[in-house]
């Protein structure tokens, strides 16, 4: 592998795969930051579990992106040698862990989207995406269940937990619009029967979110400004720090095998 950061010539399919892979990697990385720091040991297990699911999804998707791109790049080339501006993940998943409420609400908002997304993707014309869908759909269903339970417990727990859950919801809500964004890449692949139209996922996402928030006695923040930019590499300032730490060792030893 040539030393130095890479720039990927992104066809629609490569770009589409990197977006999903980056979502999973960055969110999985965030969850791994919790290791040994969770409020209970059971939750340490659960956060690691969800992190492992996401890392697994990321690896399958990167590997497939490498095949589609056809330049011999493996999963690590994409993860470790792209710069911040080449990362295609949602802004939601790169937001810092914050307190446990932020982590759980972030995971819940993402999973409530990812579960129906991957279920729909089981019908993708791309066989690998369909296979990832079959696996990820079950995994994300667990994430939804697990996080929903916590959202309810926190929302309907103590005054403090309720305030923290509400604050997390307010903080993260502006990042949920990006889940349903459609651009040229999407349109091309929707037309080709490879991608699902994210607009069709808005309704199931809202249903899940509203139902769980109701049970948690929390209110969804009012519709308002939605932040975007992740898909085109215009990230928040948080991602760069995450990548600096994640990539340091690989980049310090170009060409080494680990």
């Amino acid at each position: 592998m040539a030393p130095g950061p890479i720039r990927v010539a992104e066809t629609p399919l490569v770009s589409y795969l990197l977006r999903r892979a980056d979502d999973a990697l960055v969110l999985g990385h965030r969850l791994s930051e919790w290791a040994g720091r969770a409020p209970t040991m059971e939750e340490d297990m659960a956060l690691a579990n969800m992190g492992l699911d996401l890392l697994g999804q990321a690896r399958m998707l990167y590997a497939h992106a490498g095949e589609v791109e056809g330049r011999g790049r493996d999963e690590d080339a994409f993860a470790y040698w792209r710069d911040e501006r080449g990362y295609r993940n949602l802004l939601l998943v790169e937001q810092p862990n914050g307190d446990f409420a932020v982590t759980i609400v972030r995971q819940f908002l993402y999973a409530a989207y990812a579960e129906p997304y991957w279920r729909a993707m089981m019908a993708s014309g791309d066989a690998t995406l369909a296979a990832v869908g079959a696996k990820a759909e079950k995994e994300m269903a667990y994430h939804v269940r697990h996080c929903a339970e916590w959202v309810v417990r926190l929302g309907d727990g103590t005054a403090e937990s309720r305030a923290r859950a509400a604050a997390a919801l307010t903080e993260l809500w502006p990042f949920t619009g990006e889940l349903f964004e459609v651009d040229g890449t999407d349109r091309t692949l929707i037309a080709a029967g490879i991608a699902v139209d994210p607009q069709t996922l808005r309704e199931p996402w809202q249903r899940t979110v509203i139902q769980v928030l109701a049970e948690a006695t929390l209110e969804a923040p009012p519709a308002g400004f939605m932040r975007r930019g992740g898909r085109s590499g215009r990230h928040s300032e948080h991602l760069g720090h995450l990548l600096a730490e994640m990539q340091h060792l690989q980049r310090s030893n170009p060409g080494a095998a680990w």
């Binding site: 290791a35 720091r37 209970t40 690691a48 492992l52 890392l55 690590d76 680990w258």
Partner: protein, 309 residues
């Protein structure tokens, strides 16, 4: 005394002691101490490896390391559950850890300074742990023995993974090889200390042996570990940091140099490189999580009240 004799008969006959069986108070206390210390070690042991989760050099290694750290947490949970069968609550045990009343394995008071340390921990620390733990799979107390069977299976998987990390480094670039050697240099002696003080100085062994909690002496296990590990180091092409190490053809064992027992005592006493950090991190996680645990309790109480109504 009659009870004690009957109990010893059962143990001698290799019958498993189960939670509801009569048992001497000292047996119960010894087991609680040993099992909870082991559980604490698993929980504290998440830290040195967790330190490299965000910096693992490949996605495969990152996922394997996260799975390993998760397994350690799982081991902690089985072991606390085993201790709870002896009539003590997990909260009390955790409290003993946080206040410094309870010990955990001193090996986790050494820092992980490079990625090779993750390999060294898997290869050497887990290797030593397995040596210690395999005999415990036949321990007289049923719940502990069963927990150890599960733990040992996973640990040997981790041990192979660790060795494979070392092998990759040892066959890698010169920087990687130097990293591997440096890790071995730092971890070797602390790993030999994991088997505890020399038999001559060991305090708990006599009754533990009689009760079939402990089946081999510290020195026996240490020797087994050295005999198993030295050829592995040679296979890796690494040098053990012990100029006195030599193979004794008569005994068929590797003879090693003098262990710095003062260092072990210092680290056990709290003065290792990371003791303060380890406990501070654990306390911090515990305190930061307090509001979450309170919320969960409050919610459970509300639901219960609703169902009762």
């Amino acid at each position: 005394a009659a009870l004690l004799a009957r109990f010893q008969e059962r143990v001698d006959a290799d019958q498993r002691i189960e939670p509801n069986d009569a048992m001497p108070e000292a047996y119960r206390r010894t087991l609680i101490r040993q099992i909870s210390q082991h559980a604490h070690s698993e929980i504290i042991g998440m830290q040195p490896e967790g330190n490299w989760l965000t910096r693992a050099p490949s996605l495969r290694r990152k996922a394997a390391l996260l799975a390993k750290v998760q397994d350690e947490c799982g081991h902690g949970l089985y072991l606390y559950a085993a201790a709870e069968t002896l009539g003590i609550a997990r909260e009390e045990l955790v409290d003993q850890l946080l206040t410094g009343k309870a010990k955990y394995s001193s090996i986790f008071n050494y820092p992980t300074l490079s990625w090779a340390d993750i390999g060294a921990i898997g290869w050497l620390v887990d290797g030593a742990a397995i040596m210690n733990q395999i005999p415990l799979c036949r321990c007289s107390y049923g719940p502990y023995a069963r927990a150890m069977i599960r733990v040992c299976k996973e640990e040997s998987f981790h041990q192979r993974q660790g060795f494979e990390i070392m092998l990759t480094l040892a066959r890698g670039t010169s920087a990687q090889k130097a990293m591997a050697q440096d890790a071995l240099d730092r971890w070797w002696w602390p790993c030999l200390m994991m088997f505890g003080p020399p038999d001559a100085a060991s305090q708990h062994s006599d009754t533990s042996t009689r009760w079939k909690i402990k089946r081999f002496s510290n020195d026996e296990l240490r020797r087994k570990f050295v005999d198993a590990t030295v050829p592995q180091a040679h296979f890796l092409g690494l040098t053990l940091p012990d100029p006195d190490l030599r193979f004794d053809a008569d005994s068929g064992h590797w003879e090693f140099g003098a262990i710095d027992w003062d260092e072990l005592r210092r680290v056990i006493a709290g003065d290792g490189p990371c003791n303060a950090d380890r406990i501070a991190a654990r306390r911090c996680a515990h305190e930061d999580g307090a509001w979450v645990r309170e919320a969960a309790l409050a919610f459970a109480a509300k639901r219960q009240a609703k169902q009762a109504a």
